[in-house]
Amino acid sequence: MDISFALTGKGYVIVAADTTAARSIVKMKSDEDKIKVLSPHLLMAFSGEPGDTVNFAEYVERNLRLYHIRHTYALRPASAASWIRRSLAESLRSRSPYAVNLLLGGYDTATHTPELYWVDYMGTLTSVPFGAHGYGSYFALSLLDRYHDPEANLEEGLATLRRCIDEVSKRLVVSPGKYKVKVVDKDGVREIEL
């Protein structure tokens, strides 16, 4: 199962996800990007049922892009999160629900605040200082309870993320080898090599 983490800091959100694509016990691929860039200041890490994940992520990506084109400005993180939540909540009670869990990290350019939302496949939406999905959450959340600092700079934030990744590598039986890390701040979205 996929592992994803996200944490906020002073003026930024870090989103990280592993890069393995597995079928049963076989690793099919080890450089899969599971973090979509939805708008200039919005990131989405997705995990869950293979097939559903990419399909839903692209559906969201295209709809938010359409909104951007129609209105000339992108949806702010809170509004985008609301729209995505509703899509999942409606899908849950449909004939073929999406089984996709999300971490939405964004930077609100109007209020100049970093925002992070934890969303699951049922459409549960909550704003969090840090979050995780998959088996990684059982190890990372307690670490983040201890080490997370909302006022930390980017270097400190990445050090905290590294702690989480190292702990998962150490303790989880089927730990993934590589992670992709993306950051969103006032300057937009960029990828970071750990």
Binding site: L88, A89, W118, D120, M122, G123, T124, T126, S127
Partner: protein
């Protein structure tokens, strides 16, 4: 385990003298794993009507949005605000509409009902997940800690409590009940509603 206990969380409402109070915990979990300690389950519907929506977290948001929409439509069409007693019937019919595929929420409502003379009467009520209304004179409870809340409230509540005493009673009831429930807790929010003002207080709780 039932879907009603999946995310955890509890809500309580109490009647006082010319005032009502409603309170909820702040936990959002996935079974035993805590996700958020800032998930409020109480929403202001009108100036004097507050509703608590404990249950499945996705339905907390969905039902809140649905009720807000229907209340706004009523306000626009009727050009007046809705009274709590009317509102609980709106809640009831909204839930019963989904009788065979319900929202997994047990709402708790607290408000002040405007009387013909212009005075206000305390009003509380709760419903089950398919909208069967329970009109109570003293207190109503719901959520994963409901059994514990019943016990503590039964022991602490008394009639005609003043706003400050009612705040103390509802706070102690909630805090002590959720400490005996693994799926509720992680802080609390209390609203005390009186004729001229609404006081919101955030309480610290045990974080285990």
């Amino acid at each position: 385990m039932s879907i009603m206990q999946y995310n955890g969380g509890s809500t309580i409402a109490m009647v006082g003298k010319d005032c009502v109070a409603i309170a909820c915990d702040l936990r959002l979990g996935n079974q035993a794993l805590g996700i958020s300690s800032n998930f409020e389950k109480i929403f202001a519907m009108t100036e004097r009507t507050y509703i608590g929506l404990p249950g499945l977290a996705t339905d907390v948001t969905t039902l809140h949005e649905q009720l807000r929409y229907r209340l706004n439509m009523y306000t626009i069409k009727e050009e007046r605000t809705m009274e709590p007693e009317t509102f609980i019937h709106l809640v009831s019919s909204t839930l019963y509409e989904k009788r065979w595929g319900p929202y997994f929420i047990e709402p708790v409502l607290a408000g002040l009902q405007r009387m013909p003379g212009g005075s206000f009467r305390p009003f509380i009520a709760s419903t089950d997940l398919i909208g069967c209304i329970n009109f109570a004179k003293d207190f109503v409870v719901a959520g994963t800690a409901s059994e514990k809340l019943f016990g503590v409230a039964e022991g602490l509540w008394e009639p005609d409590l003043a706003p400050e005493d009612l705040f103390e009673t509802i706070s102690q009831t909630l805090l002590n009940a959720v400490d005996r429930d693994a799926y509720s807790g992680w802080g609390a929010v209390v609203y005390v509603i009186t004729e001229d003002k609404v006081i919101k207080r955030t309480l610290k709780g045990r974080m285990d």
